[in-house]
Symmetry: C2
Subunit: 215 residues, 2 copies
Amino acid sequence: MSPSASPAEAKQSLNAGDWARAALDALAAGGIDAVAVEPLARQLGVTKGSFYWHFANREALLRAALELWEKRETEDVLARIGDESDPYERIVKIFKEANAGYRAGRLYLAIAAAEDKPLVREFVQRVSERRMDYLVECYQALGFDRPRARHWARFAYATFMGNLQIRRDTPDLMPTGAPFNEYLKLMIKTLIPREGVDKSADHPHVVSMRRAGSP
Amino acid sequence: MSPSASPAEAKQSLNAGDWARAALDALAAGGIDAVAVEPLARQLGVTKGSFYWHFANREALLRAALELWEKRETEDVLARIGDESDPYERIVKIFKEANAGYRAGRLYLAIAAAEDKPLVREFVQRVSERRMDYLVECYQALGFDRPRARHWARFAYATFMGNLQIRRDTPDLMPTGAPFNEYLKLMIKTLIPREGVDKSADHPHVVSMRRAGSP
DNA sequence: CAGGGTCAGTACGCCCCCGTATGGTCTGCC
DNA sequence: GGCAGACCATACGGGGGCGTACTGACCCTG
């Protein structure tokens, strides 16, 4: 009788967090419209009666899911590459993360697709700005002045996002295996100007500092 | 009495094309779910009775709208920059088009967001592949061999798409005026390697040909 | 043991959309 | 004038989602 089948003695009572997690999963899988009370209730093995005890309405659930997303997005990402001191390697790591961890990217695209909802816009904007800020800092640490760092950061961020889009919509256009690594190397080499390149005014006024740590 | 208010004596009778155009507009404005029979009928000032005369069902309308999109996407775009012989200038034109004409990009994002529908995937894939093929040809014309051209084309295409996404989701992160032109110049200079750059194996084995026409 | 808080089931009304059936109104053509 | 076909309105049944009201079971605590 007990709703088992879950590891660790399967809690038999749901809380708001369970609903929020389920909502976020549904969001990733089917977009904003998939965050619906009754389907989620069915999926969780309960009825609406439960839901409306934990949340005031559908909107509240959506907000909870988005808060969960924002939390994960900032905590996780920054935690996974926060211990890297070399700004060059930081950007490289971000790039590789962004191109490997496909799930997080899918989630972003699913959420951002509902840009007409003000609530969603709010969260998307915060997350995006935080990501961009981080990138800008990386490029500044590489020796760029603020305006140039912003341009390069935006450039790199746009390329991340576009790769996500390509991967989702037309995976055939995205190489795998060795060619993919070539592709990745090309993007990294192009998007993170190294110290040697100073023949152009668009490149950093950097002297040394780079490519010394982490052999 | 006649439903006027339109230029040129306002047709009083709808046809399938009118429905398809309206559907595409709705698609651009509100995503795939906005392509609904009854709302569109209301908007067009008629009832469902009209719709189900022209189309078998909602699916058929969606297909018609997507065909319209594909047609516009390939005809228009290639027509607007087809008379440019210089491959460098072709890419530049594409870039500027992509960053100026925001509407077409919005449409792509709205359509691609419904990537779970097989029908949509089909069209998105065709359109994307055609765009990529065109870019690959441009890069090949610049002197790249096929694999490298594919990498650069994908790179550039990803950057297009990402810029679209940024523009839609976080317009504040996209500069305007002079800074935008700087940004554009940076991307163009970076994404279209010029003849002078040959210190790297990733750059074209090109000798001259470039930057002679159009002073 | 009584009572209150927690969580869930049932049932209802509402809205909005799909698709069908059927009938009505124009238009042009014979 | 009458017929056929193009175009549209009305009405209906079905489905699914939202939100509310009420009831019920299970703790836990006084």
